[in-house]
Symmetry: C2
Subunit: 426 residues, 2 copies
């Protein structure tokens, strides 16, 4: 048995008592973590400086260096996030269903933690704090593997969080840090101990995880988001929304990649869009019909499936709403897609028929985010349809069990007509 | 492209309009199906007689022949089930969350179908009707592969259901029947068209499906259920409950396989149990300590993990409640486990710490069933922890999407402090 496997089995053993911890102990632990991080801020920043120094020596690109930085502002953010989590209602022990099956035979469906969750995340050290806090609040044990660029910062954050949690009465297995990339492959084999994997990272990485583990995976494989400018769109509203969705943060999964424009408004809207994109350094690639109205290059079928994560936008003119819907369901990644229209009927049809986690009317796709939805934080965004869909907060980290309370009832009596069910929701 | 793949892509295309159908059309279709089945009862029974004849010629075992039979009683059952489904509330278009994120920016979380569901089921033709009805009521398209023993009955049931559904205005792709076993492997490759697979059958078969498809799978891999007789158990209640859980239907997944007995009551309870099991032709295999009190053979570690599906029961004496809980979490399959006790404290601890879909006090494990839970019917029982757990009815066949209604809001305004979120649940 590998040492990783042994570790995960110990975590599994602790996960059962974790599931029984009352909410006030989990909240007290969150407070202890806030206090411990704040009183060791200098040490955290010193470790972060070490990571930044190594990153600079290694010539890491600016966006990664920016995400790597853990300063006063980031510390304040994660502590505010944990304060927010403390005040959210306990996601555990909620009764979802309470039903009398027969006299003296009561069924209850009650929320409980999933158990042991493995999260593999990118270079942002603040993600470590957020994920640890979400898992703790929801009664789950978390096994974390962060980006190696952030190794020093992750290590001190982990030590401080673990120390504070255990001192508040949380089992030691509530949080585990995995530091070697090679250990990920060991982790993928531990399907007897880990209940859920949440990989955050590139599409290729998520696919690799899915193809190499029997453990259920919750993650998003791709973010090919669309905006459809309808014939009844307010075009003055449309331009800033498209620009925000494309440029506010190009590397995010909820950034728009393809713009679909109704043929009736294309001649008016596209030239304005083209000029605005030129100003914003966004390169356009367009369908043959659109080339009459935009400055750009012709697009291929492959462009329709591409998550650029860059200052590039595909443009296609469609005949009508249904062609836009068909395009999105065919080429999209079921992440987040928006319609810009003043027609309630068109919006309703779009939102019913587009098969995506987020369907928006008259706003930017960039709103697809756990914090912006009021979830406090998120462990990721799911483009799968099972369990949790879209930004995943506390609700996505719990499951339920059915509790049945009887007085000696046996099924034979019901099968042979001596008793019968009288369902009554309580 | 294989013909199966083409078929599934057509089904996928129909699944989008299926998701938009109002509940009254789906209910009317259920009524049309009831009517069509009832007015063609003679033809159905004739086809079933053909299957039964072939089954007899092939020497199928009696339990399979019994499940294969589709007579007046089975027809009445499935029609009553569909009437029950008609009267259940629509699982679609339910608003789970309605939240103002800011003035004029409203988030709604609304239920919708999963999409296309592939169900591979055993030789019971009534399962075909139940699964088709559950998928229809929940707005999903279903692709069904039934047992080949029931080919004639399945074909006529499918034809009648499909004809009635289409005549009631349901898209043709709502139901598809796959008839060749070899086509299952083609089906497993259609991850661009099928959203969920539900295999019903042996553990080995479910594992095969999980290992050979990228499509998410919901199924139960094993049913190793336990009953723990606590020191505070009412022993008069315990004996009939254990016998019911073992013998009422030995081939079911919710049948008890291992009995754990507190050492304090073992000397009183086990001799009575041993005698009763002898009368009921249940063979006992026991731990060394238990051999003093029972007639049976010594058990091995492997017995603790075995789903017998037969008149065999493993018996183990435990020192206390926590040893029982640890045994169940270690050897069980997280299906359904019961404690027999008059102590509320012991029951509460057991139900919190046992990590199973069903945790019962003072009743038979055989109650783990969608019909007995009041779900109308079930597509299966899930021992996974994600999405749906335990018996899966309509709720397990829906997902949700987030709808965001705005007036041109962009994220840049919130990121740069010109706007801020004001979360308010509506």
């Amino acid at each position: 048995m590998s040492s990783i496997h042994e570790t995960t089995l110990q975590v599994k053993a602790d996960s059962f008592s974790m599931a029984a911890l009352p909410g006030d102990i989990r909240n007290k632990a969150l407070q202890a973590i806030i206090d411990n991080l704040q009183s060791h801020r200098a040490a955290i920043f010193a470790e972060n400086a070490e990571d930044l120094k190594r990153g600079e020596e290694a010539g890491l690109p600016q966006p990664i260096m920016k995400r790597l930085k853990f300063d006063e502002a980031k510390l304040a953010d994660v502590c505010a996030g944990m304060e927010g989590l403390q005040s959210l209602p306990d996601p555990l022990f909620r009764t979802l269903l309470s039903r009398q099956l027969d006299e003296g035979l009561i069924l209850k469906q009650v929320t409980c933690p999933i158990g042991v969750i493995g999260v593999i995340f990118e270079s942002r050290p603040d993600a470590l704090v957020q994920i640890a806090a979400l898992c703790l609040k929801s009664g789950n044990c978390a096994i974390l593997k962060g980006g190696s660029e952030a190794a020093h910062t992750n290590r001190i954050l982990f030590d401080l969080i673990h120390e504070a949690g255990v001192s508040a009465g949380i089992p030691s297995g509530f949080l585990t840090l995995i530091e070697n990339r090679a250990d990920i492959d060991e982790l993928l084999k531990c399907d007897d101990a880990i209940d859920l994997l949440i990989p955050r990272g590139s599409n290729a990485f998520v696919q690799y995880i899915m193809n190499n583990s029997k453990i259920p995976v919750m993650g998003h494989a791709d973010g090919v988001c669309h905006i459809y400018v309808d014939k009844d769109a307010d075009l003055d509203l449309a331009l800033p929304v498209v620009l925000d969705a494309k440029t506010q943060y190009v590397a995010a999964c909820n950034t728009v990649e393809t713009l679909l424009v109704h043929q009736a408004v294309a001649p008016t809207f596209l030239p304005k869009l083209s000029a605005a994109c030129c100003d914003a350094h966004v390169k356009l690639v367009g369908c043959p019909r659109s080339m009459e109205y935009i400055q750009g290059e012709p697009c291929t079928d492959a462009d329709y499936r591409t998550e650029y994560l860059d200052y590039i936008l595909t443009v296609r003119i469609v005949d009508d709403l249904d062609e836009a819907i068909a395009h999105i369901n065919r080429y999209g990644s079921h992440h987040t897609d928006a319609i810009l229209t003043e027609s309630e009927e068109a919006a309703q049809r779009f939102m019913l028929l587009v098969d995506s986690a987020g369907v928006y009317q008259n706003c930017s796709t960039r709103f697809a985010d756990g914090f912006r939805y009021g979830f406090g934080a998120e462990v990721g965004i799911s483009t799968g349809k099972l369990h949790a869909r879209g930004p995943v907060g506390l609700d996505g980290l719990v499951t339920y069990k059915y509790k049945l309370f009887g007085h000696g009832q046996i099924v034979g009596d019901y099968a042979e007509g001596r008793s019968s069910f009288h369902f009554k929701d309580l």
